[in-house]
Amino acid sequence: MKTIVLGVESTAHTFGVGIVKEREIIADTRYRYEPEKGGIHPREAALYFMNIGPSAISEALRSAGISARDLTGVAVALGPGLGPCLRVGATHARAMAAYLNKPLIPVNHAVAHIEVGKLVTNVKDPLIVYLSGGNTLIAAFNEGRYRVFGETLDIALGNFMDTFVREIGLAPPYVVNGVHQLDRCAEKGKELIDLPYVVKGQDVSFSGLLTAALRAVRRGVPIENVCYSVREIAYSAIVEVSERALVHTDKKEVLVVGGVAASKYLKEKFEIMSSSRGVELAIVPPKYAVDNGVMIAWTGLLAFKSGITIEPERAYVRQRWRLDDVDIPWFGQ
């Protein structure tokens, strides 16, 4: 009998429901909360999720052509993420599992980004560079877990980029036709201005760069040049810490996952670095690099086959659930 798992994603701006049947994706429903102004307001996003949640689940089941009774289990992203958003997804998943009397499978959102990235790119044991709105970390598998070798000491790369373009009046919308406003604005820039480039050992930091860049804009430095400098500095710092981790871990593949992975300028830098180190570069295509339910379903399936389930009454959300807290017994299978 084939294993069929439904996965619910609701850690930030996307309510996603995915269904996988072994390695086959049979449903992928997504609803994205778009703020009219400003950033994500967790409560507003949660309200939106509550409204569309039940129909998103029915829609996914319908598009897969199965009934809820056909499911082997229900997986849910319990963290890390925004509390109010996480709770909506968890409530839906707990209710489904309890009502249908199916196992509930806890999934870590960061692990899910990695597993779906491996599924669609076919890399086996990569150095992982996870870049999104809320996460910036470099990890690799070692002794049963994805170990963190470097990360941001303050704000995530995506959050940094969004905040910068918002503060200088270029967003929202943050991304237009798949290109972030920062990359758009930087295309017209030519001159590199002096802004802090902070790499501390294996870690990066962006808060000083953000402050200095906003100050430069206020001082009257052409906005295009500030964008260009910010892009160059932020992306180069990420590639540098990745290169350090690569040398340290001796991995032969690099996998870039998360919503910021789509930038072609970042990709260019990664390509130069990987070819100089003789390693293979895999960048998760935008469709699966952003938050979605399929990645939760797929990781849930892997976890379920390793015997990982949770009682609904114990399935609390964990806003700060770290990647390296999660055992990965299915690795290499």
Partner: protein
């Protein structure tokens, strides 16, 4: 590209790291190591030059301060920040990592105590090493003294957290490669460290190390603090 000066011999590659290439050769007739921070083609050239220049100067500065504070580290012969080059004396010896397991216990203890003294002196100078492991200590073959190398991640800090990380990294390197002798080695290290920094600082750093180790991944607390 660089050529060896003073003897006409070629430079020989010792190691290729993430950031720099280490070459062995002669400088003014002295057997030397050339640490060359190579340009990174993925960085804007102006940015690349700035980063390499700043890091080269900082590393040389920390090495000189360390020596001034009584830490054995290679003599600096030339610093060329624009080229990203530091030329330093070549220490004839073995990496502690490669010899620690085969040293007689009392010899190992004396050596570790000396290393503890050096770590303490470095911290007293207001510097943390940033990568204090048994791979970054050379035991001089001629006189048996330990030398601290690779100040690439060193920085100015008087923070107990940063000092704790130095000591934690050293302990972790003992555990991973020298688990058989680690308890003795660490006791001797702390003995030397305490002699230099004093009882009060020793207690603070040891408590910090315990805290760091309870955290698992040690930057988590640092991360929270920055939020």
């Amino acid at each position: 590209m660089l050529t060896s000066r003073g003897s006409g011999s070629e430079l020989e590659v010792l190691a290729v790291g993430a950031e720099a290439v280490l070459l062995k050769g002669y400088f003014l007739g002295i057997k030397s190591v050339y640490k060359v921070r190579v340009p990174k083609p993925y960085r804007n050239p102006k940015l690349d030059l700035k980063v390499r220049r700043e890091r080269t100067s900082a590393e040389a500065k920390h090495m000189i301060s360390a020596r001034r504070g009584g830490v054995n580290s290679p003599y600096i012969l030339l610093v060329d920040p624009d080229a990203g080059v530091i030329v330093m004396e070549y220490i004839e010896g073995d990496l502690l990592r490669n010899i620690l397991n085969s040293l007689p216990e009392c010899r190992a203890c004396t050596l570790l105590e000396h290393i503890g003294i050096m770590a303490g002196r470095l911290h007293n100078e207001g510097i943390v090493h940033g990568d204090l492991t048994t791979s970054n200590i050379i035991v001089c073959r001629r006189i048996g003294k330990p030398y601290l190398i690779d100040f690439g991640l060193a920085r100015a800090s008087e923070d107990i957290e940063d000092r704790g990380v130095d000591v934690h990294l050293f302990l972790r390197s003992l555990e991973s490669v020298h688990f058989r002798v680690k308890d003795m080695a660490f006791r001797c290290f702390l003995n030397g460290y305490g002699k230099v920094v004093g009882e009060e600082n020793l207690t603070k750093v040891v408590n910090k190390v315990k805290e760091i180790r309870l955290r698992g991944r040690y930057v988590e607390e640092r991360r929270r603090r920055h939020h």
